[in-house]
C-alpha cells in the first residue's frame, strides 16, 4: 500500500523548490480547491471533535451496562441511536469514546515510527556507500516481516496496553519512513548546495537538519496521513482479537470483536464500528493523496477529446506526393480552450523523397510527426487541417482504420532505440509480431522473414540473434532492428523522428546510409525529423524549418536552405552552426559534415 506513494512522494520532494513557506501556502491553496480533501478534513474534524468532547457528547457512560434480555443487542432506537452491544452498553457512546483510542494510537504510532525511521534514513542516505548498502538491506529484511507478527511479538514481550501497541505499530512503520528519508537524503546529497555547505565547514549534522528536513516535510505529511489510517486498522485488528487495549476500554475494533459471535442475533451490530473505521481510514488516505497531488501540482483531470473542425472534403492530392500535410493545427485541450502546439503547418513528401523537418526541441516537429502517425497523447489532437497519405485523409481516421494503414503505408523509427524496443521481449518476438500483423503466415515463416529483414538492415548473424533481447544489442544495431520493424511491411512513408540523435557520430552516419540505401531499394518517402543540420545536409532532398509550432521555411532542395536561407530563424540556425567546430578534423562526424556541405 505504501511503495507507490513512497515513490511519488520522493519524486515530489526532489522536484520542488526549497522555500517551505511559499510551498506550504501554495499547497494549501490547491488543497482547498479539492472537494475530496475538504470532505476528508471535515470527517476527520468530526472524529477529533468526538474524541475531545466524548464526555459531553456521549448520551451514556460507555461502560454502563444493562444485562437484560431486552437491554442487550438492541437495534437502533430513539434511546440508543446505534443500538446496544452484548452487555447492553450504548454503541454510539462507545464509538465516540473509541475515537480517543483510534486517534491516540494513530498519531502516537506514526510519531514513534518517524522518530525511529527518519534518523535511520538520514544516516543511511548521508553516509551512502557500505553503511547504506548494509542498512538498506536490513531495512528491507525488517520490512518484509509481516507487520501483524511483529505486533504479536511485541505484545508478547511487553503485554497489552496503549504503549506497546504504539511501539509495535511504530516499529512496523518505521522502516517505511527510513526508506523514504534515505531516498530524499540521497537525492539532496547529490545536489550542489550540500557540497558547498561541507566546504564551508558547517558540521554534518547541521547540514542534515538544515537542508534535508525541509525537503522531507511534504513527504512526511503525506506518508504520515496514510500510515495513520493504516495504524488505525492495525489497532482495530489487535483490539478485535482481544490483545489490544483492556476489553473494558471502548475501541472500534473491540466492538467488532463482539460481532463475530453476535451478528447472527443482531446483524446491525457489525455496521457502526466498521463504517466508522472505514470512513476514518479513507479520510486519512484521501488527505494524504490530496496533499501529494497538491504538492506535485499533478491533476487527475480527465482528458478532453480534441474535435477536428468539420471541413469540406479536401481537394485531391498530387499523385506524385505520398504525404500532404495541409494547414494542420494540433491543439492541447486545457479546460475549455485549446493551446496550439502546431499552427497551420503545410508540408509535402514526394514518393521516394527524403524531406527533413528541422527545428530545435519544443518547436513542434515531433508533435507534427505524431499527428501524422495518429499517436498523439490523449488530450492532444488535430484541431483543423488535413493529412493526406497516398491521397486518403488520415487525420480523422478511427483507431481501426489507422491500424489497417499502419505498417503497410506508414511506419516510424524513433529516437533512442533501446526505449523503442520492449526490453522484456526478444527481437524475434517483436519482429514476428509485426510481420504477422499484416501477413497471414505461420510462426516459422514469420521467423524466417524476420531473419531476412535483420540481414537486410545489416545485423550480422541475423538468424542467431532473433532470440536476443534488446539490451544485448549496441545502440546502432538496436536502431537497425527498429528500422527492420518499420520496414517489415514495406510502407510507402517512414517517419524517422530523431532516429539518429541518440547514436554516436560514426553509427549515426551508418544508420543514415542504411536509410538512404533502403529508400533507393524500396522507394518509400522519408520524413526525417531532426535538430541536426549535418543530417539534413547529408541525406535530405528537401528541408523544412519549424519554429514555435510553425513551419517557417520550406526549401526547394537541401542546398538552397544552406546557400540562401529565407527566414530570419533559419539564418540564426545556420549562423549558430557555422561557428568553427572545436576539433573539426578529429571527429569523423565533423569531417563528414564539412564534405557534405562542400558537395552541396
Amino acid at each position: 500500500m505504501t511503495s507507490l506513494n513512497e515513490l511519488k512522494t520522493v519524486a515530489v520532494a526532489t522536484a520542488r523548490t526549497h522555500e517551505t513557506g511559499s510551498v506550504a501556502s501554495r499547497v494549501l491553496k490547491r488543497l482547498v480547491r479539492k472537494p475530496i480533501a475538504i470532505i476528508a478534513v471535515a470527517w476527520l474534524l468530526v472524529v477529533v471533535f468526538s474524541a475531545i468532547f466524548a464526555d459531553v457528547l456521549a448520551p451514556y457512560d460507555p461502560l454502563q451496562s444493562e444485562f437484560t434480555a431486552a437491554g442487550i443487542l438492541q437495534g437502533p432506537s430513539v434511546e440508543h441511536p446505534l443500538g446496544t452491544d452484548d452487555a447492553g452498553r450504548d454503541v454510539l457512546s462507545r464509538l465516540l469514546f473509541g475515537a480517543r483510542v483510534a486517534l491516540a494510537v494513530g498519531f502516537g504510532s506514526v510519531l514513534v515510527a518517524m522518530l525511529i525511521g527518519v534518523p535511520i534514513g538520514l544516516l543511511l542516505g548521508y553516509r551512502a556507500g557500505w553503511t547504506d548498502r548494509l542498512g538498506t538491506r536490513f531495512v528491507d529484511i525488517i520490512d518484509s516481516l509481516p507487520g501483524m507478527l511483529v505486533a504479536f511479538a511485541i505484545v508478547a514481550i511487553l503485554g497489552r496496553g496503549l504503549g506497546s501497541i504504539m511501539l509495535a505499530i511504530g516499529i512496523i512503520f518505521s522502516m517505511n519512513f527510513a526508506r523514504m528519508s534515505r531516498a530524499i537524503t540521497l537525492a539532496e546529497r547529490s545536489k550542489l548546495y550540500i557540497d558547498a555547505a561541507k566546504v564551508s565547514g558547517i558540521r554534518e549534522i547541521t547540514i542534515l537538519f538544515r537542508q534535508v528536513l525541509p525537503n522531507l516535510a511534504g513527504p512526511l505529511v503525506i506518508q504520515g496521513a496514510i500510515l495513520t489510517g493504516a495504524a488505525i486498522i492495525i489497532e482495530s485488528a489487535l483490539s478485535f482479537l482481544g490483545i489490544g487495549l483492556e476489553s473494558s476500554v471502548p475501541s472500534w475494533g473491540g466492538q467488532l470483536g463482539v460481532a463475530v459471535s453476535k451478528q447472527i442475533v443482531q446483524p446491525f451490530i457489525v455496521f457502526p464500528p466498521g463504517l466508522t473505521i472505514m470512513l476514518t481510514v479513507l479520510a486519512f488516505n484521501m488527505l494524504g493523496d490530496s496533499v501529494s497531488e497538491a504538492l506535485s501540482g499533478e491533476t487527475r483531470k480527465r482528458f478532453k477529446r480534441v474535435a477536428r473542425e468539420q471541413t469540406a472534403a479536401p481537394a485531391p492530392a498530387d499523385p506524385a506526393n505520398v504525404l500532404e500535410i495541409r494547414d494542420v493545427t494540433v491543439e492541447l485541450r486545457r479546460r475549455d480552450e485549446g493551446v496550439a502546439l502546431v499552427k497551420d503547418a503545410s508540408l509535402t513528401v514526394g514518393r521516394g523523397e527524403i524531406v527533413a523537418l528541422l527545428g530545435e526541441s519544443g518547436s513542434g516537429k515531433s508533435t507534427l510527426a505524431k499527428a501524422v502517425l495518429g499517436l498523439l497523447a490523449p488530450g492532444i489532437g488535430v484541431a483543423s487541417g488535413s493529412i493526406l497519405l497516398d491521397g486518403k485523409d488520415i487525420a480523422g481516421m478511427s483507431e481501426k482504420e489507422l491500424r489497417s494503414i499502419r505498417g503497410t503505408e506508414l511506419a516510424a523509427v524513433f529516437q533512442d532505440p533501446m526505449a523503442a524496443l520492449s526490453p522484456v521481449h526478444t527481437i524475434g518476438t517483436q519482429l514476428t509480431d509485426v510481420i504477422r500483423a499484416h501477413a497471414k503466415v505461420s510462426k516459422r515463416e514469420a521467423r524466417a522473414r524476420a531473419a531476412e529483414l535483420l540481414d537486410k538492415v545489416g545485423v550480422r548473424d541475423a538468424a542467431n540473434r532473433l532470440d536476443d533481447y534488446p539490451h544485448q544489442f549496441s545502440g546502432g544495431m538496436a536502431q537497425r532492428v527498429a528500422i527492420a520493424i518499420a520496414l517489415a511491411s514495406k510502407p510507402k512513408l517512414v517517419i524517422a523522428d530523431e532516429a539518429t540523435s541518440a547514436l554516436d557520430v560514426t553509427t549515426q552516419a551508418q544508420v543514415l546510409d542504411l536509410l538512404v540505401a533502403l529508400r533507393d531499394e524500396f522507394g518509400m518517402g522519408i520524413l526525417l525529423i531532426t535538430h541536426d543540420l549535418g543530417v539534413v545536409a547529408e541525406v535530405a532532398d528537401r528541408a523544412a524549418v519549424m519554429n514555435a509550432g510553425e513551419i517557417v521555411e520550406v526549401s526547394t532542395d537541401a542546398a538552397s536552405l544552406f546557400d540562401a536561407p529565407q527566414h530570419p530563424y533559419t539564418k540564426k540556425l545556420l549562423a549558430a552552426r557555422t561557428r568553427p567546430p572545436r576539433h573539426a578534423s578529429s571527429t569523423p562526424r565533423g569531417g563528414r559534415r564539412e564534405t557534405a556541405q562542400e558537395e552541396s
Binding site: S3, S144, L145, F152, G274, P378, V434
Partner: protein, 314 residues
C-alpha cells in the same frame, strides 16, 4: 537459470541469520525469567535455578544462540510451556489452514488486482480509471476482518450459501475445502488487491505510453496484442515486487481473519501463546512464518529474473 537461483540464494543467508537472531532474542527481551513463566505459582528461587539449568538458560548468550540455531535447523523448536509438546508439531498442525488462507487470498489479490489495474491502466484518465481508482481506495480503507464479517452476514447468515464452519482439511474433502475457502480468501484479498491494482494501473499506463508501444503501434501491431503481450509483461515486473509485499501483508492479516471464520491456523495458536506468554510457541510460529515469507520473496526474486532479462546475472 541455475546461476540466477544461486545468486538469489546467497542473498537469503543474511536474511535468515537476522530473522533467526531476532526471533531468538524474543526470549531475552521479555521481562522476568522464562523459568518463572514455566513454573508459574510453583516458582521459588531454587526451582527456578533448576529449570534454568535444564533449559540451558544459565549458559552464555552466544552458546545458547548457537544451540538454538543448531536445533532449529534440525527442526527442533523447543517445547511449549503451555501444551508441554514440541513446538514444531504444534506449528505443523496449524500450517495447512494458514497456508490455504494465504494462498487463497493471494490468488484473489492477483486476479482482482491485476484485472482491475489492467482495466484502469488501459483506460487511463478515463471514467473507468476513476471508477477503479475510487473502488480500490475504498477496498484499501476497509479492515479485512470487517469485510469478512460482512461476507459472513450476507452469504452465510442471510443467504446460507456457505457453511457456518468454513474449515475442512484439504485431504479430507477437496470440494468442501475449496468451498470453505471462498469467503475467507475473498475477504483476505481485499486490501492486497487494492495494492496490486494501483501498481498494475500505473505500470500498464506507463507501458502503453512508452516508446516501444508507439513503435509496435506504428508498425501495425493490434492494440489487443500490445496490451496483453507487451504492456502486461512489462508491467508484471513492478507488480511482482508489489505481490511480494502483499504476501507479507496477507500472512499478517490471515492471523486476524482466522478468528472471523474460526480457522484453526497459526493465528489462534499465536494468540493463545501471546496471552499466556508461551514464548517457544511464539518464537516457533514467528520463525516459520518468516521462513515462508523469505521463501516466497526468493521465488518472486527468481521470477523477476526470469521475467526481466536485464536482471539476470551475466
Amino acid at each position: 537459470m541455475l546461476k540466477l537461483i544461486g545468486s538469489r540464494l546467497v542473498l537469503v543467508i543474511p536474511q535468515l541469520l537476522i530473522v533467526g537472531l531476532l526471533v531468538f532474542s524474543l526470549l531475552y527481551l521479555v521481562p522476568g525469567s522464562a523459568a518463572a513463566l514455566i513454573l508459574g505459582d510453583a516458582a521459588n528461587p531454587e526451582s527456578i535455578k533448576e529449570v534454568e539449568a535444564q533449559l540451558g538458560l544459565d549458559r552464555p548468550f552466544l552458546e545458547q544462540l548457537g544451540t538454538w540455531f543448531a536445533n532449529a535447523v534440525q527442526g527442533d523448536l523447543g517445547n511449549s510451556y503451555l501444551y508441554k509438546r514440541p513446538v514444531a508439531d504444534l506449528v505443523l498442525e496449524r500450517l495447512p489452514a494458514t497456508l490455504s488462507l494465504v494462498g487463497g487470498g493471494l490468488l484473489v489479490a492477483m486476479v482482482v488486482g491485476v484485472g482491475l489495474g489492467l482495466l484502469a491502466g488501459v483506460n487511463a484518465r478515463r471514467l473507468v480509471d476513476r471508477g477503479v481508482t475510487g473502488f480500490s481506495a475504498l477496498m484499501q480503507s476497509m479492515p479485512e476482518f470487517w469485510v469478512g464479517l460482512l461476507l459472513v452476514l450476507v452469504f452465510v447468515i442471510q443467504l446460507g450459501w456457505f457453511p457456518v464452519v468454513a474449515w475442512t482439511p484439504p485431504g479430507a474433502d477437496t470440494g468442501k475445502w475449496l468451498r470453505g475457502l471462498v469467503l475467507p480468501a475473498l475477504a483476505l484479498g481485499t486490501g492486497a488487491s487494492a495494492l496490486i491494482a494501483r501498481q498494475t494501473r500505473t505500470a500498464v499506463a506507463e507501458a502503453l505510453s512508452s516508446r516501444y508501444a508507439d513503435t509496435l503501434t506504428a508498425a501495425g501491431v493490434p492494440r489487443g496484442r500490445i496490451i496483453f503481450r507487451y504492456a502486461l509483461k512489462n508491467a508484471m515486473i513492478p507488480v511482482l515486487a508489489a505481490s511480494a509485499l502483499a504476501v507479507g501483508i496477507l500472512f499478517g492479516t490471515s492471523l486476524v481473519m482466522e478468528r472471523v471464520f474460526a480457522f484453526p491456523g497459526l493465528g489462534s495458536l499465536l494468540l493463545s501463546s501471546v496471552i499466556s506468554k508461551d514464548l517457544p510457541v511464539v518464537q516457533g510460529a514467528a520463525l516459520v512464518v518468516c521462513l515462508i515469507v523469505i521463501a516466497v520473496n526468493l521465488i518472486v526474486d527468481i521470477a523477476y529474473g526470469v521475467l526481466n532479462p536485464r536482471a539476470r546475472p551475466q
